[in-house]
């Protein structure tokens, strides 16, 4: 049986850990050994099945995202994550290689894990990417822009790409490995489990590729019933650091709607302001598969929870904070199923937004149409196929990679 290492290097929250755990647990039941090499280990305490895995801290720089301008391409993200300094990237690369050499995986599954991919490549290990479109850049040179709310000079995209590539090649040289010709080679893999649909892919410039469907897990968490009553049913999942949190809480508290809200680590004063007979405020992730069946609106930041809910035909009001969320919200808007508000949106817009989306039947209609289009999508089938593909990569066939090497 094989040894399978999951790597998560960039990004935050629970989505990466939940999705990897769901896949890894199934692989483990088939007899494979699992390692999680993760950016954050704290989340695993809420996923008891991961106690049966080897869990390691992923190499990460002490300072991240200190580059001046907001990122416009994957190369810009890299420059803010240790790729602006050859010695720093060398240190990260050595740490990945040390771990992979000692744990000896047969395949590395990379969830937003560029340096894990680089290390696996340098050790000639089979590898796959696993994640939404934002985590897997199109294989173009230079790595293309994902920013489209403002003009990005092509020279800037090329310069970032060249700078990150120079750093990568210096780090490869420091560990005695040959250079890359293009930064895109870092992301070459035996398979890309691109877990989204083309309409929701954050990159609108990706050459033709396969899509494996969203991967947000809706089948675990706290069981919560919708409060009884007459109002519309709103599910709220936002961070307490969201700039318009108080405005949102005020709007909800004044509305006749029924609410289930999960706002992690919400302070008591705000919790008390929001909670009521018709508004349930919970302190841990909610099991969503039943909740979304009767949900009239989801209010979130626009991450994978949003695209997941779209598959159940739930329209969205998104408050994107990160650029990834902004891109996802824009894509859901293009589908016709979402409205979104920027972090700087005016108070009256926030107050009116909920009734606006609920009052325009086109949002719900578009969400339902989207759900119908992908009615045959099954997370279990997605997982079955991913496992089948991983095992095919692991099993050398006469025409497979072993023979071709």
């Amino acid at each position: 049986m094989a040894r399978i290492a999951f790597a998560w290097e960039l990004g935050g929250e629970f989505g990466h850990a939940m999705a990897c755990s769901w896949l890894a647990r199934a692989l483990q039941l088939r007899g494979h050994s699992i390692a999680f090499v993760f950016r954050e280990l704290r989340q695993l305490m809420a996923l008891p099945e991961t106690a049966a895995f080897d869990t390691f801290q992923a190499p990460r720089p002490m300072r991240e995202g200190v580059a001046g301008a907001p990122p416009a391409s994957y190369a810009d993200i890299l420059l803010g994550a240790g790729y602006a300094d050859a010695e720093e990237l060398t240190a990260l690369l050595v740490a990945w290689r040390s771990l992979l050499r000692n744990w000896r995986p047969d395949i590395v599954i990379a969830d937003f894990a560029p340096t894990a991919l680089l290390a696996a490549r340098s050790l000639a290990l089979p590898r796959a990417t696993f994640g939404n479109g934002f985590f897997t850049p199109p294989p173009l040179s230079p790595l293309p822009a994902f920013r489209y709310d403002e003009a990005v000079p092509p020279q800037r995209i090329a310069a970032s790409d060249a700078k990150a590539l120079a750093c990568v090649n210096a780090a490869l040289a420091a560990v005695g490995e040959p250079p890359l010709a293009r930064l895109a080679e870092q992301f070459e893999a035996d398979e890309h489990f691109l877990c989204t649909f083309p309409e929701l892919d954050q990159y609108q410039n990706r050459p033709a590729t396969g899509y494996w469907g969203p991967r947000f897990r809706f089948d675990r968490g706290l069981d919560v019933e919708w409060p009884v009553g007459q109002g519309k049913r709103l599910f709220v999942y936002v961070k307490r650091t969201m700039p318009q949190l108080d405005l949102l809480i005020e709007s909800l508290a004044r509305s006749p709607h029924r609410v289930i809200a999960f706002i992690p680590d919400l302070d008591e004063a705000r919790r008390a302001r929001l909670a009521a007979k018709s508004r349930v405020v919970v302190d841990r992730p909610v099991r969503l598969d039943r909740v979304v069946r009767h949900c009239d609106l989801m209010i979130c930041h626009g991450g994978e929870i949003g695209t997941g809910a779209l598959l159940y035909g739930v329209p969205q009001l998104a408050f994107p904070i990160t650029y990834e969320q902004f891109l996802t919200a824009r894509r859901m808007e293009q589908v016709g199923a979402a409205a979104w508000l920027a972090p700087g949106a005016a108070a009256r817009d926030v107050a009116g937004a909920i009734d606006f989306v609920l009052g325009e039947p086109r949002f719900a209609a578009a969400a339902k149409a989207f759900a119908r289009r992908y009615a045959a999508f099954s997370p279990e089938e997605q997982r079955r196929r991913i496992i089948q593909r991983i095992e095919a990569i692991l099993t050398p066939s006469p025409t497979g990679r072993e023979a071709s090497q």
Partner: protein
């Protein structure tokens, strides 16, 4: 031969790597296999060619609010994520997996409480090393950092209890037995090595403790030399981010004699702008051999590495500590009669007058010379070899 992991979690600057790198090299020379687990890996980047393996130490999330003046060593850990049991349990799980993978026979811990706790879970022997600041005396409760600002004992007691309660909760989440019962166990290994001189121990002097001497990376630094025979010769090693930096450089230009200022962090242009004929400001670390011996006065923040260098050179010090560890070291040097200092809370003096006075003080010159004399012949390479031997002697069976 044995497998020895060298772990460093907390504390900034170069002191920790300058201690652990020479130790690891010496352990290797003794035939052992050494590897590193660091929180800040970037420091290791320049040493890739030496072929050591290294790993990422588990990160913990910092609490939303941090106390800028922690009261005790327990308070510091609570500020670094040790108030969050789930976060700590995640980190300890990471340490435990790594120990399971690499199978160390011994873990050397340089301010690495996570490594100490995980080693405790699997009964792997540990040696705690440090200059003293990360090895607080084993009192219960742990002593206040600022004994000159009285803190009620029950306040310190509560900090220790809070720390131990989180650790116990994390142990329970991982189904691990025997959590520590006293806060000092998060700092102390099965044995420890005070890699410092007694006179520079921030918690010194301690009774019944062996000081095995400071370690340093003997390489590194740009060569410079004094230009002329003008005195006083003042050597300054300063962080440009200190708000007093500009005033000190300006004062040096007013004083007769010659000055060299090592200010890593400045750009070349900034350094050139600040330089004059008699005052050379350099944006790099400098090679100190040959410079310090013929200096009349050193100016520094009382960082432990440079303090040891100037002590060995027998040069008096004008100290401008920026943080608590430096402040405690500065107090020790002041008590030894080899330094004068301005505390971070003091209003800055007229630096030209202050420095001129110190340079003229024969008592400090003699105090510093006596300290240097007491450690005459001290050799950093031998100290590293000695430390490695002591560590190897702690190996089981």
């Amino acid at each position: 031969m044995a497998r020895i992991l060298c772990a460093w979690e907390f504390g900034g600057d170069l002191g920790h790597i300058r201690r652990l790198l020479p130790i690891a090299r010496e352990l290797r020379r003794l035939g052992h296999e050494a590897a590193f687990v660091f929180l800040d890996l970037a420091r290791l980047g320049p040493y890739a060619a030496e072929g050591f393996e290294w790993f990422q130490a588990p990160h913990m999330r910092l609490p939303p609010k941090q106390n800028p003046s922690p009261l005790s060593p327990s308070d510091v850990l609570l500020n670094l994520g040790y108030a969050d049991a789930a976060g700590l349990a995640g980190a300890l799980m990471g340490w435990r997996s790594l120990f399971g993978l690499w199978q160390p026979d011994l873990v050397v811990c340089d301010y690495a409480p996570g490594a100490l706790l995980a080693a405790r879970m699997r009964a792997t022997p540990t040696v705690a090393v440090g200059n003293g600041f990360s090895l607080p005396p084993p009192a219960a409760p742990l002593e206040a950092y600022r004994p000159w600002n009285p803190v009620e004992a029950n306040v310190l007691q509560r900090l220790d209890e809070k720390l131990l309660a989180t650790v116990a909760k994390a142990f329970e989440m991982l189904r691990a037995g025997s959590p520590p019962r006293a806060a000092h166990e998060l700092f102390a290994g099965d044995s420890h090595l005070l890699c410092n001189f007694a006179e520079l121990d921030p918690f010194g002097p301690r009774e019944g403790v062996e000081y095995s001497g400071p370690l340093a990376d003997s390489v590194s630094g740009r060569d410079v030399a004094w230009k002329a025979e003008e005195h006083p010769r003042i050597f300054a090693y300063l962080k440009p981010r200190d708000p007093r930096f500009a005033a000190i450089v300006a004062a040096l230009r007013k004083i007769a004699g010659e000055a060299l200022v090592a200010a890593p962090g400045l750009t070349d242009a900034q350094a050139a702008e600040l330089s004059s004929d008699r005052v050379r400001v350099l944006p790099d670390a400098l090679k100190l051999d040959g410079i310090l011996d013929s200096a009349d006065l050193c100016i520094s923040h009382a960082g432990p590495g440079f303090a040891a260098r100037s002590l060995l050179a027998g040069v008096p010090l004008a100290l401008v500590p920026m943080q608590l560890e430096q402040f405690r070291i500065a107090r020790r040097l002041e008590a030894a009669g080899a330094a004068a200092m301005i505390s971070p809370d003091d209003p800055p003096p007229d630096f030209a007058t202050w420095l001129t006075d110190i340079a003229a003080r024969s008592d400090l010159r003699e105090g510093a010379r006596a300290l240097g004399h007491a450690h005459r012949g001290y050799d950093f390479d031998q100290a590293a070899a000695r430390a490695a031997q002591r560590i190897a002697a702690a190996l089981p069976g």
